[in-house]
Amino acid sequence: MSAVAEDDLLVIDDLHVQFDTRAGVIHGLRGLSLTVARGETLGIVGESGSGKSVMAQSVMGLIDTPGEIVRGDIRFKGRSLLGPKGRSYGRKIRGRELAMIFQNPMTSLNPLMTIGAQIEEVIVHHLGKSAREARQRALELLDLVGITSPVSRLSQLPHELSGGMKQRIIIAMAIACEPELLIADEPTTALDVTVQAQILELINDIQKAMNLSIILITHDLGVVAQSCHRVMVMYAGKEMEEAPVGQLFSRPAHYYTAGLLRSTPRLRDSSDRLFSIDGAPPSLIDPPTGCPFFDRCEARTEECRMDPPAVTTGNQAKAMCWHV
């Protein structure tokens, strides 16, 4: 990344994350780079195990003992989040300028703390507000995320709420300090279909109202089409392709993206069988060099055994492939 791009809100540069397990070293991320501009929603798509969540955890400083960031950099507003200095910087901004929503609202709230206490502690800690002001702000937030009778909710415990409500609470906690970047890690996966749409809509509304940048991690291409400006496709810990939403759906450049699109069911599809990509992603223990999609790609040639180049495929678009 050049220095010019540093007015981007978040820059991830050649990030390598490893997990040291008994079975061997798992390479969770293998040189991932991305940028998020202000006010932008970046979608990240990939199968489970492609490294989406590892990326999110790295940004939030949640990579723990078996895991380790071995190479690369993460910069938020131009300042690194790694190293001793970066860690103390990270502690200051996480929850305040940089927030995250997790996949499973059922387990993401402290079961023995009231809703109010969990929202208020963010406000008190980061904004130094008094308990009274924090309560006032919590009420506003609950109202904002569409929770009815917020006053009585504040004194309830998580197990008294439904999954959709919990996710709304978690969103309220995340936006409590009006962050600049919100990472949403599969925010709708664990919810009922009807609730999924509501939550997604809420996130979109908030983004517009607060001019947030969002990283939306999902494996649901429909969600991406609905909410994102730009999409990045990940596979086996690497980036495969990134492009503006319209271009990715109309002209996918990478064979993996094309396969992914074809394996998504559509309403007006006449064929009676759903397409699926043969094979499975490579093991992340001793992953092969070259294109990670090699084994499953219909267009593979000998040169695909070498690391593919990043080919520019349009404005803000590129694909890691020899055959674009």
Partner: protein, 321 residues
């Protein structure tokens, strides 16, 4: 990212035993535990040949001789002698028999009985289950040791009494464990599915139950073994367990109690033996527990590597709190 990658299971039993021994060897504390246990077992089995003297042989001319490294001590009595001139080392070697005999018998009897009750309660369910579990609950709430004292005071102390009483007081833990495992195994989806498609429930549950049962039961039995060793020692110390002229570590500590001011070695060495034995078994139990649990095994590995990394160099990169 999921980390629960099971280690490939070895096919040949020999290779497996070899690898297990190798793994123990690499874990310093487990290796220590196993070696101590082997030594103690050897001493207990071959006590008459290992011990330099008869444990009851008195030598009133050599009373309260200190261990050999002290003034007045001699290599004739490495750990010294007691108030009747009996060789402490020989008494300790013979005393190991009482501890191991009582502990092994109690674990075997209580373990078998408790396992049967737990299986029964878990499989039959309903009335049987609630009656057995009510008995377990009530017995857990009883002042066990005081009742043991009461029974011993009425029946009279001795090794057999101790084995019976401790067995009665300890079967519940096994019953509880086994029952909870049976219940959880029966709730597994594939078991429910198997029962639904008409597999004979007994056979299905049993074939899936055994592997789930062995590791926790083994761990519990080993831990209970240490508890019984401590209980035997305590009872013998109180004069309610092993009776003279038989020997036991707890009894020896009790005998030495009146000579605290003049001969510290009388109470120190037998007690040290109890401690080392129990520590060794605990270390091995911990290793067994971790090794038979894939998740725990992964954690141990992670800790091991993390420790090494910290020792090797403090790398600035790494997003840990």
């Amino acid at each position: 990212m999921s980390l629960d990658i099971a280690a490939p299971a070895a096919r040949r039993p020999f290779a497996r035993t070899g690898r297990l021994l190798l793994e123990i060897w690499h874990d310093r504390s487990a290796a220590f535990g196993l070696s101590v246990i082997v030594v103690i077992l050897f001493c207990a089995v071959f006590a008459p040949w290992v011990a330099p003297y008869d444990p009851g042989a008195q030598d009133l001319g050599a009373r309260l001789v200190p261990p050999f490294w002290l003034e007045r001590g001699s290599l004739a009595h490495i750990l010294g002698t007691d108030h009747l001139g009996r060789d402490i080392l020989s008494r300790i070697i013979h005393g190991s028999r009482a501890s191991l005999l009582v502990a092994a018998s109690v674990v075997l009897i209580a373990g078998t009985f408790g396992t049967i009750m737990g299986l029964w309660a878990g499989f039959r369910g309903g009335r049987t289950d609630s009656v057995i579990m009510r008995i377990v609950d009530i017995q857990v709430a009883l002042p066990a040791l005081l009742l043991i004292l009461l029974v011993i005071s009425v029946v009279g102390p001795g090794i057999a009494t101790m084995i019976v009483v401790l067995s009665i007081a300890n079967w519940m833990v096994y019953a509880r464990l086994v029952r909870s495992i049976v219940l959880s195994v029966r709730q597994l989806e594939y078991i429910e599915a198997a029962e639904m498609i008409g597999c004979r429930p007994g056979r299905v549950v049993f074939s899936h139950l055994l592997p789930n049962l062995i590791s926790p039961l083994l761990t519990l039995a080993i831990l209970e073994f240490t508890n019984i060793i401590l209980a035997e020692a305590a009872l013998s110390f109180l004069g309610l367990g092993v009776q003279p002229p038989a020997t036991s570590w707890g009894l020896d500590v009790a005998n030495g109690k009146d000579y605290l001011f003049v001969a510290w070695w009388l109470v120190t060495f037998p007690g040290l033996c109890i401690s080392i034995t129990v520590i060794a078994i605990n270390l091995l139990a911990n290793w067994v527990r971790v090794t038979t649990d894939p998740q725990e095994r992964e954690k141990r590995y992670a800790r091991h590597r993390a420790g090494r990394r910290r020792q090797a160099a403090r790398q600035p990169v790494g997003g840990q709190q």
